[in-house]
Symmetry: C7
Subunit: 94 residues, 7 copies
């Protein structure tokens, strides 16, 4: 059982607090959007979105920083995922 | 008697609480939009919507996650349907 | 004396409560928009609307579900009509 | 002395209450926009408006239903006119 | 010393109350925008404005009706001018 | 040390109160935007801005009227500059 | 470990207060956006962003003025970065 995101959407799984600490990432509170570190679980096909060609730039397994408020939480078989549009992913952590 | 959605609209039928529990999907409350699991009942023809070509990506029978607040509830012969635009469907559950 | 809607507008006549009951349609209150069942009385010519080609998809006599708040009520010779844009029609009931 | 509307604007003259009664049109109060019956006095040239080609669909002498709040009242030589964009005219009464 | 408006802007000089009375124009208060009679003092070159070709339709010396709230007042050598976009000019008075 | 504005931005230096008085310009308070007289210090390269070709129409040394609220103040080596988009410049004073 | 910004995003590192003082830049409080001086750390690839071609105009090492409220703070290995869109960078300091 898995989530297949539509168009330019991306399914993320937030990194747990422990992992976050290990990786040395601290995400301070921001007023308008809380950046979050997450792993990419599934990537939509991209294509024409709202009349504009969108090419997917992230891939499964990437660690990314995203804007929390843009996403939607979904719990599937005891795991919580976040579905965002690729445009809400700010950067890849390498 | 059935609903034929126009353009890029999709008719959904929410999965009942029992089914939701069986499938292991739990949808936690989110402030801005409540994701929902539903079955696709009817799919509009797509085509040019608001001046942009839209290709339908879901089909009758798909189980999907959608954003509740974007839709409109309609009760037809004792069944409640939700009519959403395809863009309000976030992912297909497989 | 009749109404000829401009561009992508459609003139609707709401189905009366009795008819609504007969057809088995119940329209529960929704916070943002109240869906309504109505009969299509007149259809605009479509064409280029706001710089985009619009093709009319409903025809006179269709029973449709529409979003009430988008329309404008007009009373002409004791009959109340609602003028909506085609985009405010969600589905055709067949 | 007369008003020559620019681009896609139309100069209207509201039908007087007496006339409105004669024609059998009653315009019930609506929360968002009050539809109004008026006669078309002058029509702008249309053409490219906001980057989009607009073709004028009403002509001098037409009786129309328009959305009041979109227009601007102007009093010229004791007559009150309303200047609206053609897009604020909903239908022609024939 | 004079004002050269950029792109699709127009410099207007409001007609004085006396003149307004002579010309028979009375401008009743409107809630959203107060129409105003003014003389065109200078006209911008038009051209591509916000990605769209704009052709200037008014010329120096025209008497026009404009929407007050869209403009900016500037006092230059004891004369008050109003700078508006051409789109805020509703009609030419002839 | 100097500021090189990006794309369609312009660096302005407000004319001092003394100069303003000398030039005879008085800028009355307006509710939505306070027009301001300023000298152009540096002009961005223009080019494609937000998908639209922008051609710069002001040059270093021009005296201009601009809308204050659109700009951003920056103090560099004891001088205060205002960075605006060219679209916030209403007219050139000649 | 480093941040690779997507599309037209830019990773900035704010100049410390000491440096700011040395460079003579003082950034007065503004109501809507607080301009900030920062060093460019990483630059996204640009390309088609929201359907429009964006060419990156800043490069690693540039000192820039940016609008604070548009960005997102991220702390990575004890360093705080700000991720902005290039459009939120107002000028390069040379």
């Amino acid at each position: 059982m898995k989530l297949e995101p539509l168009s330019d959407r991306v399914v993320l799984k937030q990194l747990e607090a422990e992992e976050t600490t290990k990786s040395g990432i601290v995400l301070p509170g921001a007023e308008k959007e809380k950046p979050q570190q997450a792993e990419v679980i599934a990537v939509g096909p991209g294509g024409v979105v709202d009349g504009k060609e969108v090419k997917m730039q992230v891939k499964k397994g990437d660690n990314v920083i995203y804007s929390k408020y843009a996403g939607t939480e979904v719990k599937l078989e005891d795991t919580t995922y976040i579905i965002v549009k690729q445009n809400d992913i700010l950067a890849i952590i390498k």
